[in-house]
């Protein structure tokens, strides 16, 4: 055995480590692949060994190989093994490997849940840290759900190192498990004010990212962030906050105004980050400043300086910021058109693209032609298809924006589109085609021109479609064919166009375009037929029919089903027409009737917006769904029973084929799901062969060095000139008119006229253009939801955070089954008991009577209701009891009970003395101090020492329900200090709260006790804590919280102990007591009251009292003796104290001074 181990370790010495591997790879440059496959074999051997160090080394090497692009998913399980190593060295490597190669599809990832949970609660902060870091990379919805609660607990970890990581990772958790957002948000919000700057910045980061996606839910945080912004000095945090405000300002315009000042301060504050801020501020605020045209103007001018800078980064950012301003203040940016156009010539594509973006917003009716002309020049010059494609889409975007608002001359636009078809290798053929169709359909006036242009395109189709590389652009033929067909009445030489469409080359086009060709040639044919018949040219009409019949068969043979079907259908139709023509029957009218009616443009979203008629339930089954037990092949039989039978009789063999195909499909499915089946992936060559009609298309090479210029095509440039001339004319005319007007209206409208300058609106369109708006269904419902992407991962996080937390929203906590048997008082237990125990009893009774399920349910409901009523009764009983108790106590007090009672919230006047103080009435006093209060609940508390245990005190807290709601699931938690800790049930962590063992009906109060352990009692302590509880009323239940500070005064460690004067004297004589004294001035209350106060609040008892002098005594839980000598002067009180511990004494005296000074 030992030998084996020795051998193992010797072997290991010869293992390659990471460095060796890297070196090896660098030394095997020629046969790298071979070397690495050899290494992988070695690694596989290493992974088989038991030694975790060897495994970790192997996994480390694998991580490196993964980066080089090798698949290491096969080692996922080994990675988990290394992750679960106890040594940090290995764990770290395991988590690194996991974070690099795990993703949602990794199936072993669910095995990690418990390991991660274990690491999260590890006492070593670096274990926890490494687990959090790893988790942030591969968190899945399942992991997020299971671990959300653990991570949330870590958000209040004592170490800021863990806290900040936990806070940051919560963002990932929210994304994967949106349900966790609401329960975790309060704590996240708390972290905004964390003392550690790292944690604070993490919280800012997370909330900022959340708010960016759904800003409206975070508006209420604006004041908090405003405070942070003015107080924080961390630039990274500030930038995030500015970004957050950028998201918020559009929703709350007032915020923008408020921000200007602090933001300008920020910019001035530090020079290094000046620029960073400038841009951030500009970007975030440009949308939020409504009426600050002056400052915007300034911004734009500054940006111009940036853009003119030689630093490309600044140029880029300047343009970027400019485009943000453009959205809100287009006019102020428009004046810098020259600069932007200049940027279009930049060598850097990024900058050119930015400039293009800007152009989009800068166009007006006046400059559209000019800008597009420039862009067209760029299109010609552009190298690289991506940029050219970008230019193309931008041109189309610019022209078509807001319903062709800026286009004054559609002829020009059509010719631009036609010019764009000359682009080589563009992907955007369909875009151009769509524009052509849209314009032709919606602008009636342009149809004639459009048709003539399209006819020309069709005529020159060989130029467009010839090169296989350019087949993106052949999409325009689709539009051209359709326009020519649909609006054939505008066609001048229809014959020629028809012939062009019937050319054999057409069959090389993609199927869907051919189909449109076929359909539209009939439209053309119909209109030609009509024309010829009207003019009485029968022969010509027959000729055209003959042409169709001759040429159509080439489409009938098409491999594309759509083309084939349409072609054969139309061929038959035309053959019939021919028959009629031979009989000299006029047919044109009937043929044209096939295509009667006008097509109206329909809005793209129209279908969605059709309202569902009343009484129609789209989710209801039309036929009852077949039950699940029926197998798939039975389904059709039940519905089409007879048909199926007929089929089987007539076409037995084909059924077999179908069946075979079905089985084949099923088998494929099965294989696909079988991890052990090696799938044969279709080789790329094979796939190529499968696609029909690609290879046998005859490809005609044309010489492209000759610039493509389609004869007779009008160049768009000429429109620019025409337009200028036209405008000039218009202007002249207008001037004339003005002069006339001036003459006519001189005097009255003098001012008005002189101010009248040529504005954009004055440019009249060249044609009367009637843009048909897109049709929407009647009574369509307006909705904004159309634009939202249902797959947006951030949509799920659009959650109202201000709504109080409901009961059901608690994060799932992993518990052991036997949670009820735990002795710790669990708030949920009584609830469960209520539901489970009692109904059982009653059920038994009911069972005998009725066994109907439905009724039983009803009964159960009733039972629960009864239960609740009972509960109420109980509580009211309880109330009564309480009252009784109080009364009893009162009467007891009157009977001079010596002991104080801590069991009622308002203590009646108590006599606290064993002296002779009873003759004077004492003001009411309560040892219960206010702990915390909100509209729902008031907490008062008292702390008592425990004589039996010298290191424990009991804190009694009275919870008073002030609301009209039911309070339940109360849980009290405090942040332990080193010295003072809350005693929790065994097994629970320091972050767990202790459930309050009761629920509170409205108006009821009750007391719970919590035990704390302490080490030193010489100092007062303050512990922060939180009470969380659920408020339940008719409207539902909400989760609430109340923070408090538990103050352990030194007096609370004292126990009122009676002492006789002789013992007291001995104690003073012993001499081992430290002494200290205080004096308080301005005391007006009587000496007796004073003593009573000290006795009551500081747990002393009077030993002896002589006139205005008294000796008092008390003992601490740890046995310190405290002796006091209280002397009253005229308006002052002096207290001399002696105690075993000087610190305790001075603290006690300080506390007393405070109490007395209040008198």
């Amino acid at each position: 055995m030992a030998l084996k181990m020795v051998k193992g370790s010797i072997d290991r010495m010869f293992d390659k480590n990471l460095q060796d591997l890297v070196r090896g790879i660098r030394n095997h440059k020629e046969d790298e692949a071979k070397y690495i496959s050899q290494c992988i074999d070695e690694i596989k051997q290493e992974l088989k060994q038991d030694n975790i160090a060897v495994k970790a080394n192997a996994v480390c090497k694998l991580t490196y190989l993964q980066m080089l692009g090798y698949d290491i998913s096969w080692a996922a399980f080994n990675i988990i093994e290394v992750m679960s190593a106890s040594k940090f060295t290995f764990k770290r490597i395991g988590y690194l490997a996991a974070s690099q190669c795990f993703h949602e599809g990794t199936d072993v990832i669910m095995l990690t849940t418990n390991q991660i949970r274990k690491d999260l609660s590890s006492p070593n902060q670096y274990d926890t840290g490494v687990a959090l870091t790893g988790l942030s990379c591969f968190v899945t919805p399942d992991l997020a759900r299971d671990l959300a609660n653990d991570i949330m607990t870590l958000m209040s970890h004592t170490k800021p190192y863990i806290r900040k990581k936990a806070v940051l990772i919560m963002y990932k958790v929210f994304l994967k498990y949106p349900e966790s957002l609401r329960p975790a948000f309060p704590r996240l919000k708390e972290k905004l004010e964390d003392p550690d700057p790292g944690v604070q910045s993490a919280a800012v980061n997370v909330i900022c990212e959340l708010a960016r996606r759904n800003p409206k839910n975070y508006l209420s945080l604006a004041p908090l962030f405003f405070k942070l912004m003015t107080s924080s000095t961390n630039n990274w945090v500030l930038i995030k906050i500015i970004k957050l405000f950028g998201a918020l300002t559009p929703l709350e315009p007032r915020l923008g105004k408020k921000l200007i000042e602090p933001l300008t301060n920020l910019i001035h504050r530090n020079a290094d980050w000046n620029l960073c801020f400038c841009v951030a501020v500009l970007i975030s605020l440009s949308s939020g400043m409504p009426n600050h045209s002056a400052s915007i103007q300034l911004c734009v001018q500054k940006l111009r300086i940036l853009i003119e800078d030689s630093d490309q980064n600044l140029k880029y950012l300047g343009l970027l910021a400019m485009s943000k301003i453009l959205k809100t203040h287009p006019k102020s940016v428009q004046s810098h058109k020259d600069l932007i156009l200049q940027c279009l010539d930049d060598k850097d594509e990024s900058i050119r693209l930015r400039a293009l973006d800007l152009l989009y917003g800068m166009v007006s009716k006046k400059n559209l032609m000019e800008i597009v002309k420039k862009l067209m020049i760029h299109v010609d010059k552009a190298e690289g298809t991506t940029y050219r494609d970008e230019l193309l889409t931008k041109i189309i975007d610019i022209c078509s924006q807001s319903n062709y608002q800026y286009i004054t001359n559609f002829e020009w636009y059509i010719s631009i589109l036609v010019e764009l078809t000359r682009l080589e290798g563009t992907r955007h053929g369909h875009l151009i085609a769509a524009q052509m169709l849209d314009v032709a359909i919606r602008v009636k006036a342009i149809r004639k021109f459009a048709v003539s242009q399209m006819a020309m395109l069709l005529d020159n189709a060989h130029l467009i479609a010839s090169n296989t590389q350019r087949n993106g652009i052949c999409e325009v033929l689709y539009a051209a064919a359709w326009i020519c067909g649909e609006f054939s009445e505008h066609l001048e030489e229809a014959n020629q166009t028809l012939e062009a469409m019937l050319r054999p080359k057409v069959t090389t086009l993609p199927g869907h375009i051919q189909a449109v060709y076929v359909q539209n040639m009939v439209k053309l044919y119909a209109s030609i037929l009509q024309q010829k018949e009207q003019s009485g040219e029968k022969e010509a009409a027959q000729e055209i029919t003959q042409l169709m019949i001759e040429r159509l068969p080439q489409f009938v043979q098409s491999a594309d089903l759509e083309v084939q079907e349409r072609a054969s259908c139309i061929l038959q139709l035309i053959k019939y027409v021919q028959k009629l023509q031979v009989k000299e029957v006029p047919v044109a009218e009937e043929v044209i009737a096939l295509f009667a009616g006008e097509l109206n443009p329909v809005a793209p979203k129209a279908q969605k917006k059709v309202p569902v008629p009343e009484g129609l339930d789209l989710d209801a089954w039309i036929n009852e769904p077949p039950s699940d037990s029926e197998s798939e092949d039975e389904k059709p039989k039940t519905i089409f029973h007879e048909e199926e039978q007929r089929h089987s009789r007539h076409r037995q063999p084909e059924i077999d084929e179908e069946e075979l195909a079905r089985r084949r499909e099923a088998r494929k499915q099965e294989q696909a799901n079988n991890p052990f089946y090696i799938k044969s992936s279709p080789s790329p060559q094979k796939r190529y062969q499968d696609t029909p009609g690609v290879e046998h298309i005859p490809v005609v090479q044309i010489d492209l060095s000759v610039p493509l210029k389609v004869p007779g095509m009008p160049m768009s440039d000429q429109y620019v000139k025409l337009e200028e001339e036209r405008r000039h004319k218009q202007k002249l005319e207008k001037d004339k008119k003005k002069k006339k007007q001036k003459k006519e209206k001189r005097g009255k409208h003098h001012r008005h006229n002189s101010l009248h300058t040529e504005s954009e609106e004055d440019i009249a369109p060249a044609h009367h253009v009637d843009i048909i708006t897109e049709e929407m269904p009647e009574n369509a419902l307006p909705s904004d939801e159309d634009d939202k992407d249902p797959n947006d991962p951030y949509k799920a996080l659009d959650i109202d955070l201000d709504k109080p937390l409901a009961d059901s929203e608690k994060l799932p906590v992993q518990r052991h089954r036997n949670v009820e048997t735990l002795k710790s008082p669990d708030a949920e237990v009584p609830l469960e008991e209520k539901k489970s125990k009692k109904p059982k009893k009653k059920e038994k009774k009911h069972k005998e009577k009725e066994r109907d399920k439905g009724k039983k349910k009803e009964k159960e409901k009733k039972v629960v209701e009864e239960e609740e009523e009972e509960g109420k009764k109980k509580s009211s009983k309880h109330k009564k009891k309480k009252h009784k108790k109080e009364k009893e106590e009162k009467s007891k007090d009157k009977k001079k009970s010596k002991k104080k009672s801590h069991h009622s919230e308002e203590e009646p006047p108590q006599s606290v003395q064993n002296g002779t103080l009873d003759d004077e009435p004492l003001p009411p006093m309560s040892s219960y101090r206010l702990l915390a209060e909100n509209p729902y609940i008031k907490m008062t508390y008292d702390i008592q020492g425990n004589l039996q245990n010298d290191s424990q005190v009991t804190v009694s807290v009275i919870f008073e329900n002030k609301s009209t709601s039911f309070l339940k699931s109360m849980e009290l938690n405090v942040l332990d200090s080193l010295n003072t800790k809350m005693l929790r049930p065994e097994g629970s962590s320091v972050h767990d709260g202790i459930p309050v063992p009761f629920q509170l009906p409205p108006g009821i109060s009750n007391e719970a006790q919590f035990v704390f352990t302490l080490q030193s009692i010489v100092m007062a302590q303050k512990l922060k804590g939180t009470l969380s509880f659920i408020v339940k009323n008719d409207e539902g239940s909400t989760h609430e919280k109340l923070d408090f500070k538990l103050h352990f005064s030194c007096a609370s460690y004292l126990i009122t102990t009676p002492c006789y004067s002789d013992a007291f004297a001995k104690l003073l004589e012993s001499g081992d007591l430290h002494m200290s004294s205080i004096k308080v001035d301005g005391i007006s209350i009587s000496f007796q009251h004073l003593l009573a106060k000290i006795c009551f609040h500081h747990h002393f008892s009077v030993v002896e009292r002589v006139d205005s002098c008294a000796s008092m005594y008390s003992r601490s839980i740890q046995g310190h003796h405290v002796c006091l000598l209280v002397k009253k002067g005229e308006n002052s009180v002096s207290i001399d104290g002696k105690c075993n511990d000087s610190t305790l004494l001075s603290n006690l005296l300080d506390e007393m001074k405070e109490t007395l000074s209040k008198c």
Binding site: M5, R92, Y126, Y171, E209, N313, K347
Partner: protein, 157 residues
């Protein structure tokens, strides 16, 4: 931040950190595409480029390109600052870092990155704190590795 890539002038990937879960295939595709586009850009061009729906911020330090992908609304300059901060961290940790340091100690480079960024967000803005955390974690590791070596010696004797 969506991901961070480090690659050499020859286009060799030196480090990759993905803050969005993607399949290996996609990662490879993105990496290849990006490395090509970034390497094709001339030195005087700006550090930003738009790619798909992301913004790429890159910077060249000696022979190494640092390349981050951020979302549309993120701040480019702060991303440059993040890159620079990471380089500073590497520099401090390795002592005038060179490409070879990152190649041979690639796991350390990852650990530093993990202390600096978490889930694509800046985790610790203080250089000192990052290095402190790394050093302490290393210390934890070193102690244990020493122990292992020691054990080995005992066994081989």
């Amino acid at each position: 931040m969506q991901f961070m890539l480090l690659f050499s002038r020859q286009g060799k990937l030196r480090l990759q950190k993905w803050y969005v879960p993607l399949s290996d295939k996609e990662k490879k595709k993105i990496t290849r595409e990006l490395v090509q586009t970034v390497l094709a850009r001339k030195p005087k061009m700006c550090s930003f480029l738009e790619w798909r729906d992301l913004k790429i911020v890159y910077k060249r330090y000696a022979s190494l390109y640092f390349c981050c992908a951020i979302e549309d609304q993120d701040n480019e300059l702060i991303t440059l600052e993040i890159i620079h901060r990471y380089v500073e961290l590497l520099d401090k940790y390795f002592g005038s870092v060179c490409e070879l340091d990152i190649i041979f100690n690639f796991e350390k480079a990852y650990f530093i990155l993990d202390e600096f960024l978490l889930g694509g967000e800046v985790q610790e803005t203080s250089k000192k704190n990052v290095l402190k955390a790394i050093e302490q974690a290393d210390l934890l590791q070193e102690v244990k590795t020493h122990r292992i070596k020691y054990e080995t010696i005992v066994f081989s004797l």
